[in-house]
Symmetry: D2
Subunit: 306 residues, 4 copies
């Protein structure tokens, strides 16, 4: 079972794919796929229902929605707008009524490192309203179809000296949002998914996710408020790509699973690729596009027609 | 007395200068000047000793140190290093022993608006250590002459929907720094002082300071911990420059103080220059220089020899 | 006649306005105004017909079209699209058939100095095609409604050590475009026009235009090919704003024109405001918007439906 | 012989290393190594003396100097200064007296794509002087120890629609520099060399070099003036890293050279990693450092003591 080998991915969808037979049912895990033909967008929902499923998937119980939109790489305004609508639809579904008490959107990551800058870039384009509603009153918000939106891109621990969790905990106690939406860059297993895929989950952010930075979980348990996480894979770990390419080559050559595992073990010890990541040549440009698409989705969720 | 006219400046030094006779003593205000000839740096200390002085100066009781370094505009590494040393000396003086419990450095302002980006840019170059000391222990810090430094550039209310005060209040409760250092861009009255002057004060940040953004005070009263503020004037209000140029021209022409005030009143009503500021053409470049100089000063204060 | 006083503006429209009576005809200068009500856009055409007009206006003979769109400051995608259409219409009108031989778009200015970065930012968003047409053939261009577009943002003399004219001259000899479009940031007299106005002219760029940088003319005479210049005022000279505010105040107070001129002379000698400019606080944001609007206009002119 | 397999590297040093036995002499190629102990810098000179050597190395006849400075990753100002000195020394050696007629420094690459931005970033920090010497005369230059330096970062073909060669050809005809120095980001084979290595060569830039962009050669033949190229490896091709890691693993497992080549062939066909590159997580930061170090080297070469 491929699922046994060390899969480095933040996408529940890719964890699910790593099980050998796609059609075999994994206990405690429900998989739904939908292809929106007119939009050329594929939506996959992975629901981890119980501890059994969580163990198999090595991810917390909850819902993981993945929106795959291959053409996000192209400069097609209409396509971006329609993907933005889909993203908005699923965010709305997962956040539910909690937004009545206000939304805090947190852009995780380091704005100085392009593939890690998704969160800060999304926050840069948000329409924030909390201060307006506090100044002009709830009526103003209702009339203009505005939810109370606040936002922060706190930076990473190497920049702040503080855990993101510490920064958010105090903030939430002071400002009492009804829900937190955390935006983050993810690591995928497949290069085809880079900057063309959005994962939305109601499980928050788990330790060890992302580009290899350990940080404490951001979820209801740690923050005292529900956390919806929205992520886009922007990198593949260099070790993962070496691993996968090698595995495929060895399988083609007819090697046994045991021999293959022995090679992979060899590779995973290679220091040369430690702390290296693989990213497409146009990463800056394609991240600018997708971060704008996500900002627009969030703006349309919480700020009327805009 | 010129002090009566509306002076828009964040520099205590310029408020003091606005009183007609420089040598006249203002009750409750002590003025000390020092010119470091070998360094070509002028240091002026304004001490507001009591309520009487605070009223005359329209600034809180406390110490205001201004370091003027005209050559900061030039690309002279040695000069920058020696200014950095002076800045470090006076920061150390004002923060005192409070750093033993850790320093939180806050970069105020909007990194998307160049003349307001001083705070974020300074934070970008800081050496933060709090997470290292928490991981490797107090001994590690002592051995390497590191104080515990954390840092945040939270952005402005239009970006976050939250008062800076709200963000910091929670953060301070979670992380318990011994002192806060707030870095901010200031407005000056004189264009000669732009990007060549550093003001350091133990009074924190008062409402209405800066480029016209009203925000609540950041000081011991609001945050529960001492706040040292370090600021650099990066803009002159357009109204101020019009006012001052006009006043000088009218005085040269022999007009009476009454006539002059009547003109100035006329000008201050002009909407054309509302929300406009005056800045040198090389503002991006000169702010990069001075923000680096300040980062180095802070790094040397709290991180040993570095 | 106000036209006598030193008017620092790059907008022909503002030079024309500086003559005392708007309805008085100036010999050799034709003025046409059109207000597009449904679009909320005002288009003014100043045509300098002969040497007499050129002398009065202190600008070369030619056509100057000014598009004023006050709401460009607001974030309204539809409005931006409709302004973009107007800009495209007048560019097409001025460039005519010369585009058949290819267009070279030049982004003048310094990308490191925000109010001077208009040209480089416009070029950043252009769709360039010359290399595609050379690779895939003229048929490819025709089928896709693409003109041959090349582009360069050479930087300013302080960055390159070369006159823009020297850089372009060689380039034009090598690549033979049918027309050059030069994009540049301008200085206006009125702050209301900043980042809301586009001037398009078939006279190229004249010496001394812009933010006070002297550079040689870019026009048919110097480059050997027609030059259409497109500019947006992004700054007001500090001296201009002081001058104008003062003039208005003095007029209100009933001073004679002679007394006023004597004051203005006084002010214009003030070194304090030399090399200073006045710019709105949101200059970075509003320049991002308008540069994008102009890029889209150029893309739609030369690259089919895009 | 390893040299037979497809090595994707722009470093002559790495091509030389790819030959199986380091000590075996390759006909027509001279190798000199020097380790500067007190500086902790290694300098390797590869001289390709004749066509035989050029064929074996698949690189033009000429001198290739590689400066390896492992500690460039660390923030150590003294170390950077001493590396900068070494770089300056070898640039001076290769450019020789040609600088008397002026130097044109060209920053190749795309400033919007971080690992390709080395050239533009180096140019951003250069001290250019050509316009000053033209204004104040040759005497001014001599008195201040300034050579005539001009600079351009023209952007890549996808941004300009023009070959870099076309842009430079015209420019050189207009401005007549004595020598061109071309700065470019390179691809290496080994991740350890990223952002810690500088290659300087008198052979100019050859087609197909760099991050996979085909462009025409920049050398004496194409430009009519000598071209010294200075490059820093900032990426490893994803295919290269997969290839090398795999080869090592297979060798460890005792496979024959034939079997290994068969696998590598398999891998090189994998589309998944086409157009992907591997880069360290801190690429933005480390490129800022090394580009500054190179600017300083060039400034010290041509602008006296600065």
């Amino acid at each position: 079972m491929k699922g046994d080998s060390k899969i480095r991915t933040d996408l529940a969808l890719e964890v699910r794919e790593s099980f050998e037979e796609d059609d075999v049912e994994i206990k405690g895990v429900v998989l739904e796929e939908e292809y929106l033909e007119e939009k050329d967008v594929k939506v996959t929902t992975v629901i981890i229902k119980d501890e059994k499923g969580a163990e198999a998937m090595r991810k917390p119980i909850g819902t993981y929605i993945t929106i795959e939109a291959k053409k996000l790489q192209e400069k097609d305004d209409d396509y971006h707008a329609s993907v933005s609508e889909e993203v908005a639809k699923y965010i709305s579904k997962l956040v539910g009524d909690a937004t009545e008490k206000g939304v805090l959107i947190v852009g995780l990551g380091n704005r100085e490192v392009t593939p890690d800058a998704l969160g800060p870039w999304v926050v840069d384009n948000l329409f924030v309203t909390r201060h307006l509603i506090r100044e002009f009153g709830d009526e103003f918000g209702k009339k203009n179809h505005l939810k109370s939106v606040s936002a922060l891109a706190p930076g990473v621990m190497a920049q702040t000296g503080m855990e993101t969790m510490e920064i958010l905990k105090g903030l939430i106690k002071e400002t009492h949002p009804g829900i937190v939406i955390a935006i983050d860059a993810l690591a995928a297993r497949s290069v085809e998914r880079l900057n063309t895929t959005v994962q939305i989950t109601d499980t928050g952010i788990s330790p060890g996710a992302g580009v290899g930075n350990n940080r404490q979980a951001l979820n209801k348990e740690s923050l005292g408020v529900d956390v919806v996480a929205l992520g886009v894979p922007t990198v593949v770990d260099a070790a993962t790509i070496v691993n996968d390419t090698m595995e495929r080559a060895l399988q083609t050559q007819g090697f046994s699973e045991g021999e293959i595992q022995s090679f992979l073990h060899e590779v995973s010890d290679s220091k040369a690729i430690h702390n290296m990541f693989v990213t497409p040549k146009n990463v800056d440009e394609s991240m600018k596009c997708i971060s704008y698409t996500i900002s627009e989705a969030l703006n349309s969720c919480f700020c009327g027609k805009e």
